[in-house]
């Protein structure tokens, strides 16, 4: 029987990975809950305020993006715009080539994953090294991140130790402290030799022209301290009006992502380092990437552009916990990915149109969202879009029979009257009716009660008539 692709993936997921993803996600949810509960009596109203700030930002993006550009230029940064993923990659490699840079260090950025920047730079002969520990391991393994905040949630220490051994970073040792220290020593050399540092940005403040970059490891800071050129690749939706809005957004971001009040390093970058500064970037570029965000903004799912990439919806999602991030076959996994990935796929919407169906609509993702995105509503809108575009949906029971019954009262009445016959059919689950067997494997049907409501309505109507006469 046809299965949804995500089900098929989840079914083949090894038990140890499923357990790792499940436990680590559940721990993330618990840490979030503790951090918010300890510090706020009513964090729901704070989430709603953050959502209102973000909704205002994206619905006035024409204004704020122009203002951000103006402020950044005033601060001494160069601002670039890129419509497509390919444009964005070329913009970055052009900057690097003009500056004569052959090697770059990179801190974690989802938009750079989205545009496949590393592959492009490699093809241009430019070495690009990921410096976030998890992303570095992803890079040496030729793998893909499976979580927005915890990219190697699907790997265990033995996998990593083997990868490090293979890369010549010392003998096999699976102690996380040793793994971390080896990465520290190796990547330090890369930072100091790099000609440019590439980062993302968590927020761009329109009126002050500051990029806000948060990390726990300090890797984006190292990129900006060691390399003479800084390139920030930023989705256009990251812009917010002013520094004061950060009080709400930063307080919710860290707590929602990892249960921290603030991430260890919260960096505000508004321009190149001054001449008297003995380290730091001399040249700063900001590349604003559209890559179909304007299409999302024009759709009835624009609310998803509020997202601040905390990963809380992944951690809490029962489907994500069972299937892991790779099951979503795209850069953004979990509930946010089920909305964003098909939208960002453009003409290839069809290929990811099953993702919005990979949800029970339990609503947990909406409850934890720091910017109050009603993800279940958006999933329903995308299911509707797929239906309108006649995209076939494996794993969904055919509803044609029901449609005929529901639109023909006579057929319906007949079905209600004769439905009781099913109570006398032995081995109902063996009947060649699609999906019935699978459904009955874990359920027992109650005795037939069909038609009772219609009978009650009828007798009620008769009673009323008698009362009136």
């Amino acid at each position: 029987m046809a299965k949804q692709l995500i089900d098929t993936f989840a079914r083949h997921l090894p038990d140890d990975i499923r357990t790792a993803v499940h436990d680590n996600s559940a721990a993330g949810t618990a840490a979030r809950y503790r951090a918010l509960g300890d510090d706020y009596d009513d964090y729901d109203s704070l989430r709603r305020l953050a959502g209102a700030i973000r909704q205002h930002s994206i619905e006035n993006l024409d204004h704020y993006l122009a203002q951000a550009e103006e402020s950044l230029v005033r601060n001494g940064a160069k601002v670039h715009f890129a419509v497509t993923a390919g444009d964005a990659c070329r913009t970055v490699s052009d900057i690097l080539q003009r500056a004569g840079v052959r090697s770059v260090v990179k801190s974690k950025s989802m938009v750079s994953e989205e545009i496949h920047l590393n592959a492009h730079l490699a093809a241009e002969g430019i070495e690009s090294v990921e410096t976030d520990l998890g992303e570095y391991i992803i890079q040496i393994d030729g793998d893909h991140p499976s979580h927005i905040v915890k990219p190697i949630i699907h790997k265990n220490r033995r996998d990593i130790a083997r990868s490090f051994e293979r890369e010549g970073l010392g003998d096999y040792n699976d102690d996380p402290a040793v793994i971390t220290r080896r990465a520290r020593e190796f990547l330090r050399g890369k930072y100091l030799a790099a000609g440019a540092g590439i980062t993302g940005a968590n927020f761009v403040v329109a009126d002050s022209g500051r990029l806000v970059i948060v990390t726990n490891e300090g890797n984006s800071r190292f990129c900006l301290a060691a390399a003479p050129v800084h390139i920030a690749i930023v989705g256009i939706e990251k812009v917010i009006p002013s520094d004061a809005d950060l009080a709400v957004l930063l307080n919710l971001l860290g707590r929602s992502a990892t249960g921290q009040q603030l991430t260890v390093y919260t960096e505000f970058v508004s321009g190149p380092a001054p001449a008297e500064c003995s380290s730091g970037q001399r040249e700063m570029h900001v590349v604003f990437v559209d890559n179909r965000r304007t299409e999302v903004l024009a759709s009835n799912c624009r609310e998803i552009l509020r997202c601040i990439r905390c990963g809380a919806c992944l951690n809490v999602c029962p489907v994500y916990r069972q299937s892991s991030g790779h099951a979503y076959r795209s850069i953004y996994p979990g509930p946010v990915g089920a909305v964003l990935s098909p939208l960002l796929a453009g003409d290839k919407f069809k290929e990811l149109a099953d993702l919005p169906k990979a949800s029970t609509l339990c609503g947990a993702c909406h409850e934890v969202c720091p910017v109050d995105i009603s993800i279940p509503d958006l999933l329903l809108r995308l299911r509707d879009k797929a239906h309108r575009e006649h995209i076939p949906s494996p794993g969904t029971p055919p509803m044609g029979g029901f449609a005929v019954m529901g639109s023909h009262p006579l057929v319906w009445r007949a079905a209600m009257n004769f439905g009781a016959a099913k109570d006398y059919v032995p081995m109902l689950d063996k009947l060649p009716i699609p999906y019935l067997g699978a459904w009955l494997k874990t359920r027992t049907l109650p005795p037939w009660r069909g038609g009772k409501f219609r009978a009650w309505m009828k007798s009620r109507a008769n009673r009323k008539k008698e009362e009136h006469s």
Partner: protein
């Protein structure tokens, strides 16, 4: 059409048809302060308490710092040129250096830098290019000590955001560099300091 024009015209096409745009919400000052801030002790006690909760060792006298530094046994410590008195109190095996150079980042394993301020609510240290002009000095060593003046400590995160200095690079440091990428196990000292300290003076 340039890429910029294409993006702005797509933005107009997406936004102009909206019957109305979401209004800008009022963000009252302190709306996201942690609830225990209302009953917090004085700013410096809170700062000291929160620094330690974030994993930053906290000292209020140069003598205490010197004793602790000796116990950490760094190879060599960098102290900025203008802090002779402080340099004199520190005894470190490989001595005190007054110059920080990027070709020596692995030899100088402890540094002292001057912070622009602190944030009591989160136990964060605020560094800027103006006060600590070598970004590597505050990041690359295993042990980093930030010197924070009492009068520069902000009460809350919101207060610090309201008064962000005019500097191309500001960084809030809240504890030692850390990761939990490997199996969710917390490890300190990934790219930045494994030991973070603060001297309040």
């Amino acid at each position: 059409m340039t890429a910029r024009e294409k993006i702005f015209s797509a933005l107009s096409a997406a936004l102009d048809p909206l019957p109305e745009r979401a209004p800008r919400p009022e963000v009252p000052h302190g709306v996201a302060d942690a609830k225990w801030m209302a009953s917090c002790p004085d700013v410096i006690s809170l700062f000291s308490e929160r620094l330690q909760e974030a994993g930053t060792a906290c000292f209020e006298s140069p003598g205490d710092l010197a004793a602790w530094m000796a116990s950490q046994r760094p190879k060599q410590i960098f102290v900025p040129p203008e802090y002779d008195d402080l340099a004199a109190t520190l005894s470190v095996a490989g001595g005190v250096t007054r110059e920080y150079r990027r070709d020596r980042v692995n030899e100088i394993d402890a540094t002292l830098t001057v912070a622009a301020g602190g944030i009591a609510e989160s136990g964060s240290i605020v560094l800027t290019d103006k006060t600590s002009p070598d970004r590597l000095a505050a990041l690359a060593p295993w042990i980093h000590v930030a010197l924070v003046r009492r009068e520069t400590v902000y009460r809350s995160i919101a207060d610090a955001l309201d008064a962000l200095p005019d500097d191309p690079n500001i960084i809030w440091v809240t504890g030692p560099s850390k990761t939990a990428d490997v199996e969710g196990i917390l490890i300190q000292g990934v790219h930045g300091p494994g030991v973070q300290a603060c001297l309040i003076c």
